[in-house]
């Protein structure tokens, strides 16, 4: 696990972590602002609606963080120091995705904790934000699964990733039904929806044609991560490392 630990430490630079925590905490701020005059019944709907839509800021934070896992090494010319070590390539791929996932989860849990604080400040109990932890965890795992390989493969991975989040997830997936199934955010949202009884209308709209359910969502997530793992293993074996 030495590689995973090294990569994790490398991407979790203080400045980056602080700014991405701030980005991931934006939904919490919006919840707090929007929930000032809301009663307890409205608060639940406000919370799920805002987290499911403004929560995309976490997707961007996860993108920035996870694409950097191997891209930082490539761009700074330090990749040979980890590539030329006796680490089987599938193991290297697994440790890289693990490091990206761990980093994304730290930011995700940070964003979620901010939403907990917002809920508590509005007088809601812990039961309101608790199910949404699944959204952050699932999204963190899913985004790391696809963005760590993207970071290794594409020199402009941030741009490609933003294209995926903005163009595919937020625009095209709303228009083309089939594409919604390819959205990590919606898959994560479907898990959240499976755990949250009081899912708001906006949250359901955000989900689109993707049905709620923990089992189905986790299966889709596993497929996404496995595909990412396969692609990264292939790239480490077959593509130039520089």
């Amino acid at each position: 696990m030495a590689l995973a630990l090294h990569l994790y430490r490398r991407i979790m630079r203080r400045g980056r972590v602080i700014s991405l925590l701030a980005l991931a905490s934006v939904p919490a701020l919006v919840v707090w602002l929007a929930g000032f005059d809301a009663d307890e019944g409205q608060l639940s709907e406000i919370y799920t609606d805002i987290i499911s839509s403004v929560g995309y800021t976490y997707a961007i934070a996860a993108l920035i963080l996870t694409t950097a896992t191997l891209r930082d090494e490539k761009d700074s010319g330090t990749l040979p120091y980890i590539y030329m070590r006796p680490i089987v390539r599938r193991n290297m791929a697994a440790q890289s995705i693990l490091a990206g996932t761990a980093a994304a989860l730290v930011i995700g849990v940070g964003g979620w904790l901010a939403s907990v604080l917002a809920s508590l400040a509005l007088g809601a109990g812990l039961s309101l934000p608790l199910p949404s932890l699944s959204l952050y965890v699932a999204a963190g795992i899913g985004y790391a699964g696809i963005f760590v390989p993207l970071g290794y493969l594409a020199p402009r991975s941030l741009l490609v990733g933003l294209g995926y989040i903005i163009v595919l997830e937020t625009i095209l997936a709303n228009v083309v039904t089939g594409l919604a199934q390819l959205s990590i955010w919606r898959i994560a949202l479907s898990i959240y929806g499976g755990l949250e009884d009081d899912f708001g209308d906006v949250a359901r709209d955000n989900l689109g044609p993707v049905t709620t359910g923990v089992g189905g969502g986790m299966a889709k997530l596993a497929v996404a991560v496995l595909i990412g793992f396969g692609v990264l293993t292939w790239a480490l074996k077959k593509r130039d490392a520089l």
Binding site: H6, Y81, I82, Y83, I87, V88, R89, K237, A241, L242
Partner: protein, 305 residues
């Protein structure tokens, strides 16, 4: 002695640019200098041998293994890249320990300490690499490469940025490793540097082999090359006619007031030129050798093959 690195019909191209062209060669234990001007393809060759880049054509076997097929080979092979890049925030010690841990070596802390001692970096080991001089970074990179005690050590311009004392230490270290039976491949664009490290030299230019052999052979091949010397004189035509019959002068031409001389022995020409000028009462204002770059010498060697 068996070759530990075997390169067969190797080519590597990037789009339309050919970096290494149909190169076949073997490297055996001991120190071998890989010599060539900048852009000759040395770095690409080392990267392909190291498995960092895949060959576009041909194959590489290092200790009998294709490095891109078996990562375990990196227990026995290390590379010191040319790039100055290091983990700026890590200390020298952390950097070498990281290399040891990634190589899954027993007692990584002790081994890192030994490697740092070998390169003479113990005193600065707890400082961040970001504050290291170029020479110190090179030594830290060498320590990280040595920590796994590799049988094959690939060094891409390892003496860049090192001061004379550091150079002498590193050269002694490379020779010691070579004498101990390790295969040490050291690239450089400076002949004198390679000459100090190794007796065996592989010269490259434009991605092709220019010469293989000991330093004396390479030097002899270089002196065979006709050199051009430009001379500005008060009476260029008279000087040209006086030079025609001079031993070692292969051709003379006057162009725009400058005498262009082709000679097989520029040193001899430099000795004779003042006497010829005095004898014919010609004033000489400038003597300029124009073919002295390593690149031009290597290109000549390649064209002559």
């Amino acid at each position: 002695m068996t070759d530990t690195i075997v390169v067969t019909d190797l080519s590597k191209w990037f789009g339309l640019k050919v970096a290494v062209s149909e190169l076949s060669i073997g490297f055996r234990p001991g120190v071998t200098g890989l010599l060539g001007p900048n852009g000759a393809g040395k770095t690409t060759l080392l990267r392909v041998i190291a498995g960092l880049q895949r060959p576009s054509q041909g194959q590489v076997r290092i200790l009998g293994v294709d490095p891109r097929q078996d990562a375990e080979i990196y227990r026995r092979v290390s590379l010191v890249p040319e790039d100055e890049s290091v983990y700026e925030r890590l200390t020298g010690r952390q950097f070498v320990e990281l290399a040891a841990r990634l190589a899954r070596i027993d007692h990584p802390v002790d081994r890192a300490g030994m490697a740092l001692q070998t390169v003479g970096l113990v005193a600065a080991a707890d400082r961040a690499l970001g504050g290291f001089s170029k020479g110190m970074r090179q030594r830290a990179k060498v320590a990280a490469a040595l920590v796994s005690e590799p049988e094959v050590l690939l060094l891409d311009e390892p003496l860049n940025g090192a001061d004379p004392v550091q150079r002498a230490q590193l050269i002694a270290l490379f020779k010691e490793l070579g004498a101990a039976g390790r295969t040490v491949l050291v690239s450089s664009h400076v002949l004198a540097e390679v000459e100090r490290v190794s007796d065996r030299v592989v010269a490259m230019v434009d991605g092709r082999l220019a010469a293989v052999g000991d330093v004396a052979t390479i030097r002899a091949a270089m002196t065979d090359k006709p050199r051009r010397v430009y001379v500005d004189a008060s009476d260029p035509r008279r000087l040209a006619s006086a030079l025609i019959s001079t031993p070692g002068v292969l051709g003379v031409q006057v162009d725009d007031g400058t005498v262009h001389i082709e000679t097989s022995d520029p040193a001899d020409l430099a000795r004779r030129l003042p006497a010829i000028a005095v004898e014919h009462s010609i004033g000489i204002s400038k003597i300029e050798p124009v073919d002295e770059s390593l690149e031009s010498v290597f290109r000549y060697l390649v064209e002559g093959r």
